[in-house]
Structure formats: C-alpha cells, structure tokens
C-alpha cells in the first residue's frame, strides 16, 4: 500500500498497516524533520523493523539530502532479520515501479563473512580474526612480495588470502552493484568475484544507503574509530532492541583483569623482549626508524589500516592525545621494560587479600609511588604497543591479546578519572578461601561512550519493545529526545494474559525477597506454580529465575521434596547453565520436545543468554513464569558503585534504578513468548511485589494495558483457572479478518476488524486528514517541542 505522511509518500510492503505502525512512522518522521533524537517503545511482534525501514527508506529517497541510515542491532540473527526485511521492502518498491539506485549492506565479524576455504571453517571468532590477520597483515604481504621477487617460486612459503589480494589489487574498481545484500548474498558475491566480503563490505560502507551492523561498531571506540569514522553527520542512527543500551555503553569501556591474564602478559613481555634483541642484532635499522618516527610525533600512517582493529586505541576519539610519544618509552627495549614493570605492579596488587575500591587518581598515585611510572606514558601504552607490534611484524596477535588488554587498561585508567572506578576483588565469592582475584576497571557512566554518537549524528533513534519507564533513558544516556512515545498494541483478541500471582493456593504470600526466598512454604508454592502450569500448558513452558544461584538452590529443594518428579510426569525439564554450548544443546532439545508433543519446561535465568536473544514464539512458549522479581544481585560491588554514581551524578535513587532494571528485564523475559499478533501466551508474574503500583507502573504500556484488576493479586488456583479458560479461547480458530495479521491472504471487509487493528490506504488518508485539522487547531496554542513541528513546517 501507499500512503502519505505530510508530503512524504511511503510505500509499505503490506496491504494493511497497523495503527501503531502508522503512529510510529509519523512520530519518527517528526524527529527526522526536526533533526532530533527520539525514544520509541513499540511492542514486539508488531512489525517494528519493517515500519522503521519503510519510513526511513522513503525519507532517504524522497528528500535530496539522501541521509544515510545506520541501523544497529544486537545479535547476528537480528541483523540478518533486518537485512531480510530491507530486501523485501526494496523488492516491493521495485515492484511498485520505484526504480532507484540503492545499496543496503550488513557488516559483522569475519567469522560470519569469511569465505576463505580454510579460515572460514574455524569455529571461534577470535581464531578466524587471527588467522585472517596472518594472511592479510601488511608486512606479511610485503614479505610475500619480496620472496616472490627474489627467490624462485618454490621458496614462497608465506601464504596470502586470494580474496583479499584480489580486492586490494582491484582498488576502486571493486564495487558491488546496487541492491540489498544479506550476509549470505554478500558471501555469494564475494565468492563469485573473488573479493573478500568482509573487507568489501567495510569499503562499501561510505557508499551504502543503509548499513546494518551491531552496536559495537558505533559504541566500542576500538572498532568505531575504524569503521564508522566516515559517516556523515546527518546520518540517521537507529539502535534497535535498545533496552540494554546503557549496559552496552558501560561495558565497552570496562575491563576486567585476572591473574592468568597477567601471567600471560608477563610471558608476552618476555617474548617481546626476545624479539627486540633479535631484531636489534639482525636489523637494527627498523627499530631506529621506528624511534625516529616516534620522535617526530607522527601519528602512525598505518594506524587506520583496515586489518588492525585489535591495535586501535581503546579511548574515545576526542580523548586521544595528539602529541608525540614521551621519551622514556620511545625505545623499544625501554617500552618493554616499562610494560614489564607495570605488569609486575599489577601482580603485587593482586596479592592483597581484602577488597580494594579506589578511583583512577588514587591508583595512579600509588603506581607512581611504587614504580615511578607517570601518568603521561601510561596514556600512550596502547598506541606504543601497537607501533611496536607493527615494527616487529607480529601477525599472530592471539598470543598478545592479554597484553593488549593490560595496555588498554593502562590507557583507559590514565585517561579517565570521572565516572570510572577500580575494584579489586580477591575472592570470587565472599565465602571462598582460595583467592581468585579480579581487578575490575568499571565505567559507571553510560553517557561517556554514547556521547560522541549523540554529538556527531543529528538524529539518533532508540527503540525497543521494552523501554519503560522511558523517563530514565534520557538521564542514563545523557541526551534530549525530541520525541518520546510508547505505543499500545491494537488487538481484537487479547492474545496475552498477564497474571500477577501473589500467593499460593494455601494463601501464603510468595516472593523472591532475600529473607523469605528459602522458606519452605515459598519454595513449595513456587514449585506448585510450576507443577500446575506444567499440567495445563501445552508444549513449551519457560521459567525465569532472578539468578543462577537461586535457581540452583530452589531446584535442588524441589528435588528434595519430590516436586521435580511430579513435574516430570507432564513435561521434560531443561536447564540453562552459564555454559553457552550446554545451553544451546538444551535449547535444541527443548524445541524438539515442544515440536513433537512431548512438551518441556525450560528453567532459565532472567539475565542469561536465553532471556535476551532467544524467541519462544508459538509452541515454544505458551506460558512464561517469572519466579520472583529479577533484581540484580545487590551485594555486587560493581552494582553498588554504579548505584552510588547514579545517585550522586544523575539524581537517580538507588531503588528507582534497581526496580527499573528489574522490571525491564522482567518485561524482556515475558515478552519472549509473544512474538507477533497471531501468537499467544500466558505471562505469570509470581511475586507478591508485582501487584504493587510502583512495579506495575514500570511495565511497558502495551503490557500494562493487559493487566486488569481481575489479573492482580491472584492465588495459584485462580491463575490456573484463568489460564485454562484463556488457552481454550485462544485455541479457537481466528479468521484473518478477526485478528488482522499482515501475512497470508485476507478478505477485506468481512465483518472483521479491518478498521480496528488494520488500516487500509483510505483509512490512513482519513486519519491523516483528521490529524492535520487537529494540528492546525493546536498550532495556534504553540506547544513547546514535539507537537508543533509538523504543523509549522
């Protein structure tokens, strides 16, 4: 269908548009027009991505500025999904006669894009990176050339990657025809034309209309510097599934250092030293060259070489010092000795058997007292190490990863003082007696990493299915959105049933609160909820616990009282573990059991892998149970530090943040079972605290609308009765016209719900006309910010 938003024609690849999609596009356009940021919460399964792409592509191609779209998503499957949507949209536009040159690309790590016959078979991303680097590093290529020129063919023992060579030699002629390339398409094209898809994609980014990649390409300074430098200022940046974006920001600037890492670093230092001496004997000229280059303070010309992201500076671009490297670390051997000293220092710090928490200044002070290392050279550690590695022509960087981390730590700790904290924890758990020290260098302030993005790009769109409470994000991320909006889901049948179970059938209140969580009555009542729902839920049932620790203790308690055996009569049980491989096997078996009618329960953790990336649509999740409120582990020192920081600097009270964080994870968990309007699922919130207004108010709007008085404050048996009824109703056949799904065939105008949850072209036009009148009226009143803009244009 085609419709207009003001003067902008939008081609939408479906016959109907949901009202919330229309509103979503309208508001987003307002933000783009006003060149401002926005924060939009749109329920999952309502075609968020397709609306977003339809609008922005239409916007790009209609207005002369041709603003580029940078679309960031979290995981590779999500990137793939977005690319597929984009492809579909462009096919539709073509079918509608809009013939325009257009390039849409996805970028991910080498592991997903490599086409080298050997390298691509590696399982681990890091190994792929390392092996690729050993085939493509500039000095490797140089060596190869020299060998070719001097010796006969037999002597050429340096291997190169043909795909990369072809691309390098092709120079500017290596381009791809316009179109949308999914990751698979890209590889296909690369294979056919012998171009490396990974480097080709990176090269094509400046020419693409739409680039889809993961958060890190914008937020992690190490990568962002290399990849996203050339994006123009008026690009439109979208962060999708962005409910966790503040954590991504802080994590991109945080570093953990452990004992084994330090040991490995010390070994690397020794190896470096050997190399240096060796080189000095064989070819001291090279070292001399490096030295003079450093004296002149020339920033490495090669620094931006595309193959070397591991050597990039870990600090944000504006914090990089543009000075020459201080004298005492210019000489290679001096620098290595300097590094050794620093590593030794860290080792001694690690021997302390009590918790230390200090800020960067105190740390630097102490470093200075003990080792006479100044702050200034520390700031250059990363860069200097990169230069040395390049001079020594080391391509197998995997061995040096730990040392690089230590160097990155040194650079970060000496660059940033505010918003960061050093915490040394000698024991993993407080009860442990064997030390396993970890030095955390934590970023407490999410605004630091994301500020350059907001500063640089005029329109940043942050969107997700769960962003409530939305007032908090602008503070957390430090930006002023032009539009903040949350959309309800228009449904003609209530396809999800939120139930707040506050007590067991025996009327004892249930809660995962620390004081009561191990009471036998609570454990038994939680178990009963599981059992009852295992009985009545068909196929898949997903449960979330606040932490692994609690899950373990309650599962073993259930085992003791025979609860698990009862549950096993109805369903198989699978458990998520911190081990990713184990979990994915469990998930696979879980899915099989859901498919073949055996039925299964998946026990998982609210902040685990399952709660974030895995969808439990249709039979894979007919019900989800949240056992307790997924609060973070409040005894964690890192969390405490962050809370303190937020209280002092952002005026966010500890409790507010904790509840916010718990509820957004809770909403994220329960949202896993509802992935579209044709889907349905039960959402059980099992904790007496969920019934309180302050918790409920923090649920996303679309979810909160489903919470009625009838579903508050239930006991287990009441919840079960409601659920049984719900499942029966949902199992009744629905005509398309009844619910209005966009896929499949529909008959318009059957006494259906077209008009309620589906709009066709004419209805959209009517709505738009009505809105225009409304706006003309309110334009006289002139409201600040959002409402007036479209009318004033």
């Amino acid at each position: 269908m085609k419709f207009y938003l003001d003067d902008l024609p939008i081609l939408f690849p479906y016959d109907y548009v949901y009202p919330e999609q229309y509103a979503y596009m309208r508001d987003m356009k307002r933000a783009l027009d006003g060149k401002g940021h926005c924060l939009l919460e749109m329920p999952s399964g309502t075609g968020k991505t397709v609306s977003l792409l339809s609008l922005i592509v239409a916007y790009q191609l209609h207005y002369p500025e041709r603003r580029k779209l940078i679309y960031c998503s979290r995981t590779v499957p999500e990137i793939e999904k977005a690319l597929a949507e984009l492809k579909r949209l462009m096919d539709y536009r073509h079918a509608q006669g809009a013939k325009e040159p257009f390039l849409g690309l996805g970028l991910t790590s080498r592991r997903n894009l490599c086409v080298h016959p050997d390298v691509s078979r590696e399982k681990h991303g890091e190994t792929v990176d390392a092996r690729c680097r050993s085939l493509t590093a500039p000095w490797v290529r140089e060596q190869h050339q020299q060998q070719q020129q001097t010796g006969d063919q037999m002597n050429v023992d340096v291997e190169l990657c043909a795909f990369y060579e072809h691309l390098e030699n092709a120079d500017d002629s290596a381009t791809i025809p316009s179109g949308v390339y999914t990751l698979e398409d890209m590889k296909e094209w690369g294979r056919e034309n012998t171009y490396c898809p990974y480097f080709l994609a990176r090269r094509m980014i400046p020419f693409a209309n739409v680039v889809i990649f993961s958060y890190h390409y914008l937020l992690d300074p190490k990568i962002a510097e290399l990849v996203s430098k050339e994006m123009s200022k008026d690009s439109i940046v979208v962060f999708d599934e962005a409910h966790n974006i503040d954590n991504v920001c802080t994590e991109s600037l945080s570093i953990d250092i452990t004992r084994p890492m330090l040991d490995a670093s010390a070994r690397s230092c020794r190896a470096l030293m050997d190399k240096v001496t060796e080189l000095k004997a064989s070819n001291s000229e090279k070292l001399q060259n490096e030295y003079s280059r450093l004296v002149e303070g020339l920033r490495e010309v090669q620094a931006a070489r595309e193959t070397e992201e591991l050597m990039a500076n870990p600090v944000l671009p504006e914090d990089i010092l543009h000075e020459s490297i201080p004298g005492n670390i210019r000489r290679a051997e001096h620098f290595v000795a300097f590094l050794q000293r620093f590593v030794e220092y860290l080792k001694t710090r690690m021997r302390v058997l009590h918790v230390v928490s200090e800020n960067s200044n105190a740390f630097l002070q102490h470093v200075k007292e003990v080792t006479f290392i100044d702050k200034k050279p520390l700031r250059f550690t990363s860069e200097r190490l990169g230069s040395l590695i390049r001079t020594l022509e080391l391509s197998d960087l995997a061995d040096f990863r730990n040392l690089q981390k230590v160097a990155a730590f040194a650079t970060l700790v000496s660059t940033y003082q505010k918003g960061f904290l050093l915490i040394l924890e000698p024991f993993e758990n407080d009860q442990d007696t064997i030390p396993n020290p970890v030095l955390h260098f934590v970023c407490l302030d999410a605004t630091i990493a994301i500020k350059p993005v907001f500063d640089r790009f005029s329109s940043v769109i942050i969107t997700s299915g769960t962003l409530s409470p939305m007032e908090l994000y602008p503070t957390l991320l430090g930006f002023k959105p032009l539009v903040i909006e949350s959309y309800p889901m228009t449904l003609t049948r209530n396809c999800f049933l939120p139930l707040m179970v506050t007590r067991g059938s025996d009327q004892v209140a249930i809660s995962s609160k620390f004081e009561v969580r191990n009471d036998l009555a609570v454990v038994r009542n939680f178990g009963n909820i599981l059992l009852e729902f295992a009985k009545i839920t068909p196929d898949g049932l997903v449960c979330f616990f606040p932490s692994y620790l609690y899950m373990e203790s309650i599962v073993s308690a259930w085992n003791d009282i025979g609860m698990l055996q009862e549950v096993l009569k109805y369903k198989l049980i699978f458990i998520e573990t911190p081990d990713a491989a184990e979990t994915s096997i469990a998930l696979e078996n879980y899915r099989t059991a859901c498919n073949n009618g055996r039925g299964a329960v998946l026990l998982s953790v609210a902040r685990g892998k399952v709660s974030e990336g895995v969808d439990f649509d249709h039979q894979y999740g007919r019900a989800v149970i949240l056992f307790g409120i997924p609060y973070q582990y409040t005894e964690s020192r890192l969390l405490k530090a962050r809370l303190e920081y937020l209280r002092d600097h952002s005026n966010i009270r500890e409790n507010d943040f904790l509840t916010f964080d718990a509820m957004r994870h809770g909403a994220q968990c329960v949202g896993r079972v509802l992935r579209g309007k044709s889907d349905y699922g039960i959402m059980v919130f099992a904790d007496k605290r969920f019934a309180r207004q302050d918790k409920r108010a923090k649920l996303p709007k679309w979810l909160a609308r489903g919470v009625t008085d009838a579903s508050l404050n239930l006991s287990t048996d009441m919840a079960v009765a409601l659920s049984k009824q719900f499942l029966r109703v949902m199992a009744q056949p629905v005509g398309d016209a009844e619910q209005g799904t966009q896929g499949g065939t529909r008959v318009a105008g059957r006494h259906g719900r077209v008009g309620v949850s589906l709009w066709d072209e004419k209805m959209v036009a009517d709505v738009a006309a009505a809105e225009r009148i409304q706006q003309q009226k309110s334009a006289g009143v002139l409201q600040p910010g959002t409402v007036g803009i479209a009318a004033l244009r």
């Binding site: 068909p538 073949n596 055996r598």
Partner: protein, 388 residues
C-alpha cells in the same frame, strides 16, 4: 424432540466463550448496535450461520467412509473439567456419534482404537454395525483404567494398518479425541505424515484442553481439522460436525464417479412361530431376524454390513436413500434485510417460529424463515417446506 434440540443453544446458559465477549466491553461498544443484549445475540447468530454455511459449502462428498475413531484413555482423561470426567463424557458423545454416524452414513465402516500407557490397542474391528462399537464402548470403557500417556504415533500407525484394508472408493479418516497435552511416542511422528498422505488418510483431532502443536501440525498436513473444545456443548457440536461426510478430495484429481457393487438382501420370511437360527456373521449367537445375501444366499442378521462369505456390500434401499441428502443438500438460505420484530411483520405464510433475529429466505421459493427454522430445515428435514 428434534425441534427442541435446535433451540438448545439459545436456551442454555450460553457458551463459555460468550463470557469473554461480555467482558470485552470496548469490543461490544464498537458495534453501534445499541444495547448489549442485541450485540451478544448478534454474535450468537453469526456463529450459528457460520456453522451452517460451513457444512453446506461443498457438494461432492464421499458417501462411503472408512473411519477409525481414536480415543485417548490416558490419565489426563480422568480430569474433571467435563462432568463427571473427560472419559465419561467422551464415551457418551462417542456413543451418540456412532449412532448418528451410521444413521447418516449407512454404507460406512468404523473401528475404535484406544491409546494409553504409551500404547495403542484396537477395541473393535472395522465394521458397519453400530451395535458392535457401542457394545464395546459400554463393556470396555470403564474409566478406572485410565493411565499413562497417550501415543499419537502408535495410535495413528495402528489406524493406518486398519485403513490400509479399506476399499479404495471410500474416504479414509481418523477421528481422534485427545485429552492429554503430551504424546509419548517411540519415534518421530513427522516421519509418519508422508505415509499417511500416501494412503490418503485424513486425521482430525478434537483437543479437550488446549492447542497442542503436534496435533495441529498432523491435522494441517493431512488436510484434517484440529479443534479445541470450550465446554461439553462445544464438544458435542464438533463431534456432531463429523457426522456428515467430508468433501471428497482425490489425490489424482480424478473427478469421475466410481461405481461400487452393492446387494439389496431379502428379509427372511417371518414364520408364524419365531424360530432362532444362526447367522453367518455372528456364529455363536442365535438370531430371530435375518437377511439373505442376493449373491451367495448366506444369512446376516443386520444391515448394512458386508457379506461375511462373498464380501458384497449389503444395504437396504432406505438406507441408501438416507445417505443421498448429503449429495443434494437444500440450498443455504440467504439473509434478507427484513428484521422480524414481531410476527405480524412477517408475511402470513412465514415459517418463522420465534420473533427475534433476522429473516432468511430460500433462494428458490423465496419463502421467509426464521433462523431456527432455517437450521431445522438444513439439519433434519433436508427438504425445503416452501419448495414442496
């Protein structure tokens, strides 16, 4: 009695799903129908009409059906959400169904399979005699024997072996009542589906609690229907929906009618003094009534059946006539824009019995009917009174 039956839906407290309609106020208010009751009534009417049109949608039907009735007898059938429990209700409805089934499909065969404890067992052999099955249900269907989980795979495999012997000209259907939410299978059920399709077997399932994916998948890929009941009335209704023959689909797209051999046996002349004799079909049971096969002259005691000696299908002509109405149904009546508020508003010749609701007219004689008469005509009379 029959007349009252059609009324039943309206008189009873209402379906449970109407409760949910009542709760969603916003939905009702959107219909500009004014008062709430009219809205609810209208929903009811739409429902009834939808049911009716569904049943009379197709013309080409197979009147010879080969059916395996699969009953779940697992522990889940002891649940008491149907009164007295699921199994009792199922048995009751199954008996009703079998009677109605042979009433409307006199030339068909049925067999009963039961699954529990991960196994499937055959209760009755394929036979066209309703009493065999009803007896079996009565004698073998005690509810204390409900245990373990059902196995859809085993039940369908067994059904497939039974249906493999069925003659090619008939339909092959599996009608399943499935109370459990799990199926405990020894293998992969999805491997069975192509085999079912190859044998032209259609699987229909009634779920008693909620939607189970594997049931849905099996039904969808064998062109069958999967329905979940709301309550006992709904259960009854879906089960009754199985009685008329399903539309005939042939894999090869061959639409030509096929001929089948049938014999119309003669009744043995009743003697003045009743004598008992043995029939060919039940060797150890003395009978007083019998029919002679026109081909081999052996005696059977009940019709319709297959001659146990020469395998000829034996029917009586009234039975055959009864199966005919499926082939020539009364045309569905069309809704008119008349609204019958009182009787006087209708033409005096109207067949309308109640006052409320819309008026429907026969497309050939144009006589008006009320909704209940409409349903009665189509479900029981099979003749339009106006046309006659």
């Amino acid at each position: 009695m029959d007349l009252l039956d059609a009324d039943d839906d309206v008189k009873k407290a209402g379906y449970a799903w109407e409760d949910t309609y009542k709760r969603s106020w916003d939905l009702l208010l959107e219909d500009e129908a004014g008062s709430l009751e009219t809205a609810v009534d209208r929903l009811k009417q739409q429902l009834k009409r939808a049911r009716r049109t569904l049943r009379f949608g197709t013309v080409r039907r197979g009147i010879v059906r080969n059916v395996v009735l699969v009953l779940d007898a697992s522990a889940a059938m002891a649940e008491q959400d149907l009164k007295p429990n699921r199994m009792e209700t199922t048995l009751k409805l199954a008996r009703q169904f079998i009677t109605a089934f042979f009433d409307q499909n006199p030339l068909s065969h049925l067999s009963i399979v039961v699954t529990r404890g991960g196994l499937a067992e055959r209760w009755t052999q394929a036979s066209g005699n309703p009493t065999d099955h009803i007896d079996a249900l009565q004698s073998k269907g005690p509810t204390r024997d409900l245990y373990g989980e059902p196995s859809l795979l085993n039940a369908l495999s067994l059904a497939r072996t039974i249906l493999a012997h069925a003659p090619a000209h008939g339909t092959r259907e599996v009608l399943t009542v499935f109370g459990s939410l799990t199926s405990c299978d020894p293998g992969n059920i999805y491997d069975l589906i192509p085999q079912l399709n190859q044998d032209r077997i259609t699987v229909n399932i009634i779920g008693l609690a909620s939607e189970v994916h594997v049931c849905k998948a099996v039904c969808a890929s064998t062109r069958g229907q999967y329905r979940v009941i709301m309550n006992e009335d709904h259960f009854d209704e879906i089960m009754t929906g199985w009685t008329p023959p399903p539309p005939l689909v042939r894999e090869d797209g061959d639409a030509r009618p096929r001929l089948m051999e049938m014999g119309f046996p003669r009744r043995r002349k009743p003697r003045r003094r009743p004598v008992s004799f043995l029939c060919a079909c039940h060797p150890f049971r003395p009978e007083q009534r019998g029919f002679t096969c026109p081909r081999c002259l052996s005696v059977v005691c009940e019709l319709p059946t297959e001659c146990p000696v020469c395998a000829l299908t034996l029917v009586s002509s009234p039975l055959l006539a009864r199966s005919y109405h499926h082939l020539f149904p009364v045309m569905p009546y069309v809704a008119t824009n008349l609204v019958a508020s009182t009787h006087s508003a209708l033409p005096p010749s109207a067949f309308a019995a109640t006052i409320l609701g819309g008026v429907y007219a026969c497309p050939s004689c144009r006589q008006p009917f009320c909704l209940d008469c409409d349903i009665y005509v189509h479900s029981h009379l099979h003749n339009c009174p106006g046309c006659i």
